[in-house]
Symmetry: D2
Subunit: 339 residues, 4 copies
């Protein structure tokens, strides 16, 4: 931590800051400059609560150097984590994993059809939402537990692990019973109690970035899960909220190489939610693969025009199969390019 | 809903859109223009899922006119709702209500001292956090149920109702037992399950705006609570996330008059979280009062420099008392000004 | 400047950074911590170009402590600047100044009527645009030099100084001939050549904040003008661009007290552009006054419903007169409140 | 245009709106719905100024269907524009064009070296800034006209066309004399006078997206140039301003396929300014190529660690040559993939 004093701060004010820091059990090292003095704070074991310091007379600014995460940082754990979802591996050195399926589980038949289509096209994990977070209460809210059963049966039938969103702690037992991977949605990225509970389970977790979460907050949210003992966490960029409304969200693809450098956790991209427009999904999926993702999550619906949710951003089976073919060729090409 | 066709859309494409809309049980009214045709959709009873339409050939844009809320809209319920928190009234025609207290409940003594100070200065509702959402898992997380007891005892001792945040459904029973008003934090504004459960209770609710929530999403979140039967909801603007980092958040004060026009629910402002800086709190509290809030929520700590959380944005007891005196004079002045 | 090294940075890497800093003529002070080393950079006379340092092996982050402005900083010039616009004083200790008039100058008669109405209601400076920046080329672009003449004649007729926007350097001479104050619009806040030229004149300047400019960039833009010798600069907050589209922009009112602390330049607010909605203008003008502005700029049109530009956010003469009466009473009240 | 009335709007109010629209020479078509009436406005030849309508009693919202651009729209001109920069072709059906060179022109030797390195690696256009827009006035501001001469001489020596930024109208003649393509920087995207002047020239133009410009505003800015007669415009996405500060800007890569659909103008990406970090440049350049750009602009400096500007985001010659080799292989692969 660095404490920057005002240009006109007095020696007494600098001394008072030093004393306050030392009373917190830390070391304070004044660094006099030509225009102002700064005070380095040392010996802290992580993030320091700065309340006691920021408002002392003469203090202009407090700059934190420590981050609110450590366990998920590649700085401390250089080796990439490989997450195992019922045998499907996600992470450094693995092939890119495709998670696909409808936004929401609608009927038993829909899920079976979707599962066959995902499997046939070469997908690795089946997705589908049983509990749906919807902006307004008057929209379709999902099938609930019955939907979970349709999902797991469909996955079993074709031999694909399944991932689904858990929205509240009480759902955790039943979701764990039916799903191979737990998804934490963007709106729950800072639902810290849910993160902690998920951290106590052994199921791998797919953590979506909140729509206005900074990279730092995103990693700190993952830290909540890992700190409880569950390090099987996959991060997912799904677009952030900006002033631009031509797309549903703004896909922040640059975080892919950034996160690969900053964290040992795998990072995937969801181009369906990021763009909200079907024609953009394949092109952004291709770009994401080239940007270095460990996997992708896309919405695919047997009949998008009849979908109860997010049909406009769902691929149809033909579009999905075509995309899978392209991704496979791109991946082979990239392996050759980087060899 | 208005469906805008491309300039070069064919008659067949326009007809196909019309047929799709009618198959949904709605009426479609083509409006031919000089450059393109638009199709008005009628007879819908609220928000229409547009998945089936947006991707039809020739469609350029789908514009929603209906909003994802109705019950909270002043358009349908012109009369302002007055929320009653154990006798303290919040809403149109009432005096502005001050909710104050520390960010987090730390000790029994701290809460008793704070309660006396809030009461002495003329505050109306005591606040304090027992369950704390913190960005990183390595920060102080709150006292939990023990904290709730300190809070309610402190409130009772001085005769002030208390408000505290509930973070998860399982906490709801115990929080309802100790608190007079339930706070839903910004990070949970779209925790729809929590909203629904809170909507089934009779406790009044303080709903904070999510840090990247649009006004429309904010009102839709309130709609979740009201749709379950609980119309005792107070909205709270607490700053939104923008590119500007000189303040913790950007206080969006213009939403106060906007919400007063759009909704019958009361609206208050939290200048402490919005600015994150103690010196800005009183000035923005004054401005908010002039902008027409039904109340304010500020952080006040007996000893801010020793606070375990958000000390830098907490007023001290003297600053709080001074602010209360000013607000009281401003309110009297405004009554005279607008008379 | 503080250079933060990676956890695993080697002693050689730390030494290399130290050497690079010293080769730049600066002093480097390593501050070893429990988890990583930071290196303080001293003796710099302002902002340091960090290109040579940021990419050295082992460097995690470079944190700037110096700001890209100094002349406009209150840290270095505690005394508030009072700007004089043909006798109208703006700044600390002065009454709040009202600048008002139509968005664009349309006819000679319109400007004379507007001038009389502004004067009659107690306004201090007449505004009107002769050169209009419009998003698309097919909208009304302003009357140009003829408009300037209408504006200055109208101002002279009623004894009000006039302010108008200058969009390009070649217009500067003619604008200076007709106007008492030069306005730099939001879109030109970082038109650095224009800033420099304006800085060489003696006319006072009204500098509007860019719609996505940080406070730091805003003050750095003012620094451009002051650095050329013209310290008669008034800052104007007019709303920033955020994800929220319910208002035209998001009025960032908290910058008013912030700027009052950080800079000695006066700060005013333009609630017309900030909100884009006539009913919000008076309420936000009132709030801005309470937040501590040195003045206000509002759009007032003799017949808003016939305006060629921004009619929807313009007050009509009655609304303006009413607002002036209120502001005058608020100002008297505030003087009493703070005495 | 669609005018949405309030739920409780009276028949008189609806009639008044209809009359107002018709007085503007347009046709008004009321569309009664179950909850409210909307009024379609027809026969307009483009964007309609809505001031006279928005504030009429009973009006809730005015929704624009027409866009503030038309000439640049693919809707009206399906054929892609191919821009010719002294023989280098940019646009549909052409190979991706690489523009590269240092952020700023520093010395004659630096430019000659850079030109040889760009040429040797297979680059197509040489870039370099002679007039530099810098946030603060105390940073290096560029060499001016002398720099232009170094740039054009360096380009001629190796047979590469050159592109450079023009910041003000008075520079236009001299810049046109030395450069083959005129760059309009992000800060000038809405410097409408400059756009118009550039539109009167025959030089091709590189128009960078403003850092908080919507897609609509970006295309409307291009419309300014094309409306004056110069249709040789290349659009450039260079990152937008968001709350995320881990990268310099947020690269909005999804606009590439969007713009390809909406406009006939070529679109390129500048990954250097978008990310601000050298290690991210090659990976985002690769991703951009896959997303469908017609070209790229990257910063390359013979010795980035000695650059006077933006060294931290500049590639070195080796990194640039490596990237060019990769891009060439990717392009060949994509041609095969999409065939």
């Amino acid at each position: 931590m660095l404490i920057v004093m005002h240009h006109h701060a007095t020696d007494e004010q600098i001394l008072a800051v030093k004393n306050t820091v030392e009373a917190m059990g830390l070391r304070a090292e004044p660094i006099p400059g030509s225009m102002r003095t700064a005070i380095g704070v040392l010996d802290n074991q992580g993030y320091v609560e700065d309340s006691a310091i920021r408002e002392l007379p003469g203090v202009r600014e407090v700059i934190h150097v420590s981050k609110p995460y450590k366990l998920v940082s590649r700085d401390f754990h250089p080796q990439g984590t490989v997450v195992d979802v019922a045998g499907v591996k996600i992470g450094d050195g693995q092939k890119a994993v495709m998670m696909a399926g409808p936004c929401s589980i609608e009927t038993e038949e829909q899920m079976h059809t979707a599962a066959q289509q995902v499997k046939a096209a070469g997908g690795h994990i089946l997705r589908g939402g049983a509990f749906k977070p919807r902006t307004g209460p008057h929209s379709f809210q999902g099938l609930g537990v019955e939907g979970l059963k349709f999902l797991s049966a469909a996955g079993r039938a074709v031999g694909l692990p399944v991932v689904t969103e858990v929205m509240r702690i009480e759902q955790l037992d039943v979701v764990c019973q039916h799903a191979d991977m737990l998804q934490i949605g963007a709106r729950n990225m800072q639902n810290f109690d849910l993160l902690k509970e998920v951290g106590k389970r052994t199921h791998p977790v797919l953590l979506k970035r909140g729509m206005s979460a900074t990279l730092e907050e995103f990693l700190a949210a993952a830290e909540y899960i890992v700190a409880e003992g569950n390090s099987q966490v996959v991060l997912c960029e799904r677009g952030i909220r900006t002033f631009e409304k031509a797309t549903r969200n703004t896909l922040d693809l640059s975080v892919v190489p950034l996160i690969r450098g900053m964290s040992h956790l795998p990072i995937i991209v969801d181009p369906s939610h990021a763009t909200g427009q079907r024609p953009l999904v394949p092109v952004m999926a291709r770009a994401a693969l080239v940007a270095g993702v460990h996997g992708l999550m896309v919405e695919m619906h047997p009949e998008p025009e009849k979908a109860l949710c997010d049909g406009a951003q769902s691929l149809d089976p033909q579009g999905f199969a075509k995309l899978m073919g392209e991704l496979s060729r791109i991946e082979a090409f990239l392996a050759e390019l980087d060899s």
